[in-house]
């Protein structure tokens, strides 16, 4: 009941112009609203435990999983300096980023390798451009040696800088004249603390040497008035004759792929914290520095799989209606004794393990299987012309129709049980033939059961993957098989989430269409 209908019907008999008042003097509309709100709150409180339970254990995890389809913070978190350094760079104008970017990637990979997060980012970016996985793994191993000459120069000039002491003093002072050093120290302190060590006593990273050397070379001492000033002046002199490190050359020496524009373009494309990349990939498109492009014909996969999943689920739903309707009809109309027996036959396979039933179909359907043997023995087919009924779409449809049949029969049966037999009798007594009585009287009343069964079967079928995996071969696998592959084998959870989101949206659209055409109120489970 809506508020509007209440007020309009209440307002109609009012003789005066003022609003109608309740017993306590407040306008009736208001007091009614209040009463309704109280009722609603009470109802909400009653379902609150269930609602919270569903939110926490069902909706939240699904939302979290689906959110991964756009999430991409890993790049900016692992390569913070690089992301800043290539912000201005336009891949279309110059193929390679400025030299700053090479220094930034050296520092980022150094820190990431200490934290062991560089390989993780490598696998993430490898989904986009093949080869990044090994590039990062290799770089993480070799990056220690890039600044060797600075390390040597500093340790030769002041041997006790090999230890931790002075580095911590500089780090704690956090003097504004040494921003690069402070930045490196922050990472050092964070990583040391995270692994349970005291940064003041830990062996300093090579990166600290490099960061300090770069500051001194850039003339940081001119504005420096912090601690250890004399030592820094000494180091500055010691570093003067040392040739500067060419980070670009050094990274290319680590791996020549650092000169590959594609690698840099990929990092740039995937630098933002959120990406449409996974969704585009799920739609057989590629997101690259040149924008969005459709993948080559030979690499398109998901569109075809979505289409196949929908078509085959529809076929399976139709097959279960055709096979299930007569069974449900018999169960609803035969004497109790026989219909109970039928019910047991329907339920027995329902209780049998899915894997057992699927394997049984393998034995039946394969080329050397029971059905083919029988057909050859009867003489219907030749021995060398055995039918291929498994490891293809046919196998999936047969096995899944069988597995999902109870989901159709049970709602049909419970709806048919409520159809009074007297209606059909009445139709017949008025002169209808058996067929007319069934088609005009009985069938329309059983449609809500078909609706409920179809929704159940279709939605269960669309997400199936074990059966298609086992009997589907190559032409009978569903989109869910690819989702499972990306969850458990390739670990590309972002793509799996994108595919899952698309599947969810498709199902919701279909549900909405169904509601518009058939009406969800016309669905009955009994």
């Amino acid at each position: 009941m809506s508020d509007q209908s209440l007020t309009s019907s209440a307002a109609a008999p009012t003789p005066s112009n003022g609003p109608m008042l309740a017993a306590d003097g407040t306008p009736l509309k208001k007091s009614l609203n209040r009463a309704l709100r109280r009722q609603k709150t009470r109802a909400l409180m009653l379902i609150a435990p269930l609602l919270i339970f569903i939110l926490v254990t069902f909706i939240a995890p699904i939302a979290d999983m689906l959110f991964r389809s756009v999430e991409n913070q890993i790049v900016s978190e692992t390569l913070p300096r690089t992301v800043v350094a290539i912000n201005e760079w336009e891949p279309e104008e110059t193929p390679l980023p400025p030299n700053d970017a090479f220094e930034a990637i050296y520092r980022d990979i150094f820190v990431a390798a200490e934290e062991k997060t560089h390989t993780r980012l490598g696998s993430r970016l490898n989904y986009e451009t093949t080869g990044i996985s090994s590039l990062f793994r290799k770089s993480g191993r070799a990056v220690d040696d890039v600044g060797e000459r600075y390390v040597d120069a500093i340790s030769d000039a002041l041997p006790d800088w090999k230890g931790a002491g002075p580095w911590a003093v500089l780090g704690d002072a956090a003097h504004p004249a040494l921003p690069g050093y402070n930045d490196a120290w922050k990472d050092f302190a964070r990583v040391s603390t995270a692994s349970g060590d005291d940064p003041a006593t830990e062996k300093p990273w090579e990166l600290l040497f490099v960061a300090l050397a770069e500051e001194l070379r850039a003339g940081a001492l001119n504005e420096y008035d912090g601690p250890l000033g004399t030592e820094l002046a000494q180091l500055s002199t010691a570093l003067e004759p040392v040739a500067p490190v060419d980070y670009r050359a050094a990274m290319v020496e680590v791996d020549e792929d650092w000169e590959d524009p594609d690698i840099w373009a990929t990092i740039k494309t995937y630098a933002p914290p959120f990406t449409p990349g996974y969704f585009l990939n799920a739609a057989d498109m590629k997101y690259s520095a040149d924008g969005i492009e459709v993948k080559q014909e030979s690499e398109r996969l998901y569109g075809m799989l979505f289409q196949r999943t929908l078509l085959m689920s529809l076929t399976i739903t139709l097959a279960t209606i055709l096979l299930g309707y007569p069974v449900a009809f018999l169960m609803a109309n035969l004497p109790m004794r026989i219909s109970n027996l039928l019910m047991i036959f329907v339920l027995l396979p329902f209780w049998t393990s899915l894997l057992v039933r699927t394997s049984a179909w393998k034995v039946l359907l394969q080329q050397e299987g029971v059905i083919n043997d029988l057909l050859v023995w009867i003489g219907l087919i030749a021995d060398d012309g055995r039918l291929v009924m498994i490891n293809n779409a046919t196998g999936t449809i047969i096995a899944m129709t069988h597995i999902l049949l109870p989901f159709m029969i049970l709602p049909l049966y419970s709806v048919m049980q409520t159809i009074p037999p007297s209606y059909v009798r009445a139709a017949k007594s008025l002169g209808a033939t058996n067929w007319t009585a069934f088609w005009r009287v009985y069938f329309p009343q059983s449609v809500p059961g078909i609706g409920a069964g179809s929704i159940l079967v279709f939605i269960v079928a669309i997400g199936y993957y074990i059966t298609p995996e086992l009997v589907g071969g190559t032409t009978g696998v569903f989109i869910s098989n690819r989702i499972a592959y990306h969850i458990s084998t390739s670990l590309n959870w972002g793509l799996a989430a994108a595919l899952g989101s698309i599947l969810l949206v498709v199902v919701l659209i279909l549900y909405w269409t169904y509601d518009r055409i058939v009406g969800i109120d016309n669905v009955k489970l009994g």
Partner: protein, 369 residues
């Protein structure tokens, strides 16, 4: 969640003082593959270890096939329930990259060979990742039915016979992923073995491999579970099929089916342990104690009594003895046996780690066409 665990752990630690940290946990959850392989681990490693440490109880979890995803989920939930996980080398590498497996110093935590050779040398090339503690070498190889009338007495001897539908007609089975199939296809298309991976890096090379596979595509059933090919061979569904050599061993020797082995161009793969990253101290201490025992030279050799996979240590090879029940010598059935190892190749894990995603989507798109 994490905070709560830390609080709980700290309070427990304060209660028991320093004792807790020196203690070893007595429960261990070991993750493996189930079936005959897990049984061989139980017989060769776990039962002898439990005899020495009667208060240790071991729970098995048969989740190795989904270990990578499940470990990541456990890590994200901050609730690590596994102590030791048996995975393939490729998975170990991925887990290591993801930071989900612990990096180990092989010489420090593993026993040296009886002659004193350090573990890292004894395992040699088998250590393909810093997190991986090798256990066995197995191989992907072919089995064929030796009673096919249409073959007129010919028997396949080399990998390219798989692609020869004229001499060896009949259905084949190959794994439903690009690994090995692409390599075999290129070898049979005339690419020299040492150039296979270089060729596969180019898109022409990939098309070339797929074109070769096209020749037998409509005669091929694509398997996903290791048990598929043995079952298909036994039923006569196929005449030729690739699978793990151990599965073929049990089909041929234990079940006595009319099937023979073709070792040519077998592709080695490795299986071994990883320790999940972030184990608590007492649990880690127990795992390390067990691992030191379970990966020593004798134990690895013992495992070969129960399954025909080659021990990963060089020093174990001479100790491989007879099958525990059948009493036959296991040496000739090992993929590492010199006679079988002619023409064999080792999967290039680093290469596959790069090209897996790209090639797999190409391969699946090709399959679906």
């Amino acid at each position: 969640m994490k905070l709560k665990t830390t609080l709980l752990a700290t309070s427990v630690l304060t209660m028991f003082g320093g004792v807790a940290s020196a203690q070893m946990a007595n429960d261990m959850t070991i993750v493996s593959w189930g079936g005959a392989y897990q049984n061989s681990q139980l017989k060769a490693y776990v039962e002898p270890y439990q005899e020495m440490n009667p208060d240790v109880s071991v729970v098995w979890d048969e989740s190795s096939a989904e270990a990578v995803a499940k470990l990541r989920a456990q890590d994200e939930a901050g609730n690590l329930t596994w102590d030791l996980v048996d995975v393939t080398a490729a998975d170990a590498m991925r887990l290591c990259d993801e930071g989900l497996a612990m990096e180990v110093d092989h010489d420090e935590i593993l026993a040296p060979a009886p002659d004193g050779t350090p573990a890292s040398e004894d395992f040699g090339d088998m250590i393909v990742s810093d997190c991986f503690i090798p256990q066995i070498a197995y191989s992907y190889t072919f089995g064929y039915r030796n009673d096919v009338a249409e073959w007129n007495g010919n028997e396949p001897t080399e990998i390219c016979d798989v692609f020869d539908l004229e001499t060896f007609p009949g259905k084949r089975s190959l794994e439903r992923r690009p690994h090995n199939n692409m390599e075999w296809a290129l070898i049979c298309d005339g690419v020299p073995r040492d150039e296979v991976y270089d060729t596969l890096e180019t898109s022409e090379g990939q098309d070339r491999a797929l074109a070769k596979l096209d020749e037998i595509k409509d005669q091929t059933i694509w398997w996903t579970a290791g048990a598929d090919t043995p079952q298909l061979l036994a039923d006569g569904e196929i005449v030729f099929g690739s699978t793990y050599n151990g599965r073929l061993f049990s089909l041929i020797v234990e079940q006595d089916q009319p099937v023979s082995m073709m070792w040519d161009s077998q592709s080695y793969d490795l299986d071994g342990w990883i320790i999940p990253a972030g184990l608590e101290e007492d649990r880690l201490a127990r795992v390390l104690d067990f691992l030191y025992f379970a990966t020593d030279t004798q134990r690895l050799a013992d495992q070969a009594k129960y399954i025909s996979y080659g021990p990963a240590r060089k020093s174990s090879a001479p100790l491989v003895s007879d099958h525990a029940e059948l009493g036959i010598a296991m040496g000739p059935h090992m993929p590492t046996n010199p006679e079988n190892a002619v023409n064999s190749f080792v999967q290039n894990y680093e290469w596959w780690a790069d090209y897996r995603d790209d090639l797999d989507s190409k391969f699946q798109a090709w399959l679906a066409r």
